[in-house]
Symmetry: C2
Subunit: 189 residues, 2 copies
């Protein structure tokens, strides 16, 4: 998606050879117009699929997901991150490790919001090692629901997440695919 790639090139900050900061339009400040364009693009890519629900994770996945949900006319559910969780009958949970933050979080979703007949589009802001997306897919499977696909805003294709998810049989659609960072520049695939 050219609009997003241009925005990454103009406003993204390459911190080192694996980290990109996009705080100015995605991760702390949000550009609602860009979110809407990205929501429309996810809807276009998954057109014709019988999606009943979008599942994302707080906080940075919410804005783009709610735009995609508006276009696709389906509700959005966001998983919450907790340091630790008291396991009860009424929640699905799974552990997700963040390589960036070097910490584990439990992610939880109330069981009532993912049902067996749901066809779920998973959306997240970044795909690196694939831990968050795999965790969300795990929750969908716990509910005996179906994963239609995984929509990602920024894929760091030089990290193993996209390959792992594709090999596991998921359709992954990323709006920007980064092959490498070099000299502070972003090189798209």
């Amino acid at each position: 998606m050219d609009l997003l790639k241009k925005r990454i090139q103009s406003d993204g900050l390459v911190l080192n050879d694996s980290l990109l900061k996009v705080d100015s339009f995605l991760n702390q400040q949000i550009d609602p117009v860009l979110m809407m364009k990205m929501g429309e693009e996810f809807a276009r890519r998954f057109q014709g699929e019988p999606i009943t629900k979008i599942l994302t994770i707080e906080a940075s996945g919410i804005a783009v997901s709610v735009m995609a949900g508006l276009v696709l006319k389906v509700p959005v559910v966001f998983a919450r991150k907790k340091k630790s969780v008291t396991i009860t009958e009424d929640i699905y949970y799974t552990k997700v490790y963040s390589f960036t933050k070097q910490e584990s979080n439990d992610i939880i979703v109330s069981k009532q919001f993912v049902q067996e007949d749901d066809k779920v589009l998973i959306i997240d802001d970044f795909l690196a090692n694939g831990e968050a997306a795999a965790g969300l897919a795990n929750i969908v499977h716990q509910a005996n629901a179906t994963v239609i696909g995984i929509g990602i805003v920024i894929e760091k294709s030089f990290q193993p997440g996209a390959r792992k998810l594709t090999q596991a049989g998921y359709r992954v659609e990323s709006l920007a695919r980064i092959g490498s960072f070099s000299n502070g520049q972003v090189n798209f695939l």
Copy 2:
């Protein structure tokens, strides 16, 4: 806002005489169409104001804020909650106490995203004791920026937040104002 009040009456769950659960359309599952209508309503109420930015707080404030931002054509900034924060030169932070959760969080915003010339509309999902909204206003003041007003989805008018904020000189616009809960029912003002 009638659409919201009806939704609260049909889908809200009164937990006790001060707690309302609206997980099915606002706090974990999000209805994007309702979010858009509420975003439009905030834009209508603050029409003519020179708003340059919306400030909200993760996670439940993001969806409605990004819709209001889309209509008003301004960026949305969300404050992050942290259990504790390492104070650095480049962030604004303030402490916010949640009576519901009986815990304090630090909320933080990067200084670059609230500038002195910003005219800020604060948006949040609930207003009870006013701690979160006052914390966001505090951050705007730290930046020497201006608070245009405070937009709230659900105001629990029987708690002191709305009165405190109004007495402090802020314009508070709440889409639904709850006078009391009785016998599991919601009584609007």
